[in-house]
Symmetry: C2
Subunit: 121 residues, 2 copies
């Protein structure tokens, strides 16, 4: 389940766009990049709450490049953020995405999980 700001006092969730207004092309474009696909893979497989502090993502790119790619995923409705103090956690909008695009995210995660990491700067 997606983390909720209701459950954790002192945190706020930046949910991103209403998925009803996001089309399939936008989501596919957001996913069709090796760095962003690797972000999605890591978020899909992170244990526990299903969220990762943005700095915990293991990627061979600069911090500003990470920020750019996170923004693309956020703007396409693939991820949302939870902010707690100065820390920002990212998580996949699994349930909402599955309502809007049934089966898409699970199939992409399954397909990229078996692949070698090709993320490059």
């Amino acid at each position: 389940m997606a983390p909720s700001s209701d459950a954790v006092p002192g945190t706020s969730v930046t949910a991103g766009p209403d998925l009803a207004g996001v089309d399939l092309v936008t989501v596919l474009q957001a996913l069709s990049d090796p760095v962003r696909l690797e972000m999605v893979r890591q978020l899909a497989h992170c244990p526990g709450t299903g969220e990762l502090a943005c700095g915990q993502l293991q990627l061979p790119v600069s911090k500003s490049t990470v920020s750019h790619h996170l923004r693309v995923l956020h703007d396409a409705g693939v991820i949302a953020y939870r902010e707690e103090g100065t820390r920002k956690y990212a998580f996949l909008r699994r349930e909402e995405l599955d309502d809007r695009f049934p089966g898409l995210l699970p199939s992409v995660v399954r397909c990229c999980t078996g692949e070698p990491t090709t993320a490059e700067a």
Copy 2:
């Protein structure tokens, strides 16, 4: 089943790349365009043999733009061609894609089938 050149004398199939060498990003990039998504949707839903003469695709773009987008789909391993005399038929490489990227094409087709056509020049 994909049309086979063995079954129809006088035709040849242009199969495209070996999907073992095609990565997920390439396929997602090929699919993440409104015109190409509409091509995939029409090919997925065409009755009978599962193939359409390239000229039968109903798209609001020029013939040369259709050719360009068909080439992108072909080079990414999403479609193949069967040539019969001067006619060229396109079909989805459903089974091979499903072996390489399980569930991906069906979920994309399902997701774009419910959407309004947004293909533009």
